[in-house]
Amino acid sequence: MDTSSPSAFVNGALLRRYIGQKVRTVIQVIGSDTGSVVGKSTDDLQIVVRGPSPTPPLTTYLEVIGIAESDNSIRAETWTNFGNTFDPQNYNELCKLANGEFKHLFI
């Protein structure tokens, strides 16, 4: 059992707290470029994700796990399709709780 590489639940605003660390978040893809994907976070901020692109077919929401590079970009390690019926508001509230009062349950 090993808790050495936890990934913090972040939304756009919380990303800046974990620069250089492993994070996870769900984004809605709004555009893509060579080598990077631009997405909208669950709190409606823009996040750029660099690294290997996710393999299509893609759903509306994607979870990306990777290292936070700046306050609005992530270097992706893993992508997961999170479907089209995902509720971003719930996830957003979870991010706030997981970084606030209940942080000790997660990191």
Partner: protein, 278 residues
């Protein structure tokens, strides 16, 4: 031996739409276990909680029932390092973002084998299993593995962990009840009316009856200021005493009753407080 039908569902909680592809009885019991601590239900946890529980060896969050080694837990995470080389057992690691735990699944019937086949590395799954310690290492003996189809279940699982934890922390004197309320109300479209906190400034026993604004109100007013609510770690009782120019010993009793009423809560330690925001 590991079939999930053994679990008697303890409530009518049907899981909404999250588990439309799975029988809901597997973990519905956990949401109503708060009343009966002896009930050996399925506890939703994060790997971090499991690690902490084992390290401290204490009874936290109801994780310890009948001793540490026999507890049923429910986890959600990514499968990694799946090793299906043996015929009778499948081993893999579950990574739920808070940590990793080794898992083992005995494959005795074709049903089990089919279930494990659909689980690959990188699949998000819902696991139900027994926690077992073997030679100092903790392992999860899994009896139920289901790939997740609706990913709202991932969000839901973590929220359920928080909920279960805060319900069980009530008895430890924290403001868990109010937090649970606010957790619930946060998801009702953002309406934040916290019905559990009766605002009752008059009932303070600290009112010395000479018409002076009582201590409760003074403390609350101070903590309600935006400068104070913005501070994550709360305000130290010394600071409150300084700012209100009231001796600390007078404040202590009032703070306790305010905490008991659910109007303030302690944050990083028992001396820092914040106003419960409605």
């Amino acid at each position: 031996m590991f079939s999930s039908s053994q679990f008697e569902p303890n409530s009518a909680f049907s899981g909404g739409g999250f588990m439309s592809s799975q029988p809901s009885q597997a973990y519905e019991s956990s949401s109503s276990t708060a009343k009966n601590r002896e009930f050996q239900g399925l506890v939703p946890v994060t790997v971090k909680q499991i690690t902490e529980c084992f390290q401290s060896g204490s009874e936290k969050s109801g994780l310890v029932i009948n001793g540490i080694s026999l507890t049923n837990v429910s986890l959600v995470g990514l499968v990694c390092d799946k090793d299906g080389s043996k015929v009778t057992e499948v081993r893999f690691t579950l990574d739920d973002g808070t940590g990793r735990i080794d898992c083992k699944r005995w494959v005795n019937e074709s049903f089990d084998a089919r279930e494990m086949e659909s689980v690959r590395d990188g699949t998000y799954v819902r696991l139900n299993g027994h926690l077992k310690t073997f030679q100092g290492k903790t392992q999860l003996l899994v009896f139920s593995v289901r790939p997740i189809r609706d990913f709202n279940e991932v969000t839901f699982h973590y929220i359920e962990c928080i909920h279960f934890y805060s319900q069980n922390s009530e008895s430890q004197g924290q403001q868990a009840g109010d937090v649970t309320q606010s957790v619930n109300t946060t998801f009702q479209g953002g309406s934040n009316t916290n019905q559990a906190a009766p605002l009752n400034p008059v009932m303070s026993s600290q009112n010395d009856g000479n018409g002076r604004k009582n201590l409760d109100d003074m403390i609350l007013d101070y903590l309600k200021q935006p400068a104070c609510t913005a501070r994550q770690q709360g305000i130290h009782i010394d600071e409150i005493a300084q700012q209100l120019k009231i001796p600390k010993n007078k404040l202590e009793g009032v703070i306790q009753s305010l905490e008991g009423d659910g109007l303030i809560y302690s944050t990083i330690d028992e001396y820092h407080f914040k106003h419960v925001e409605l």
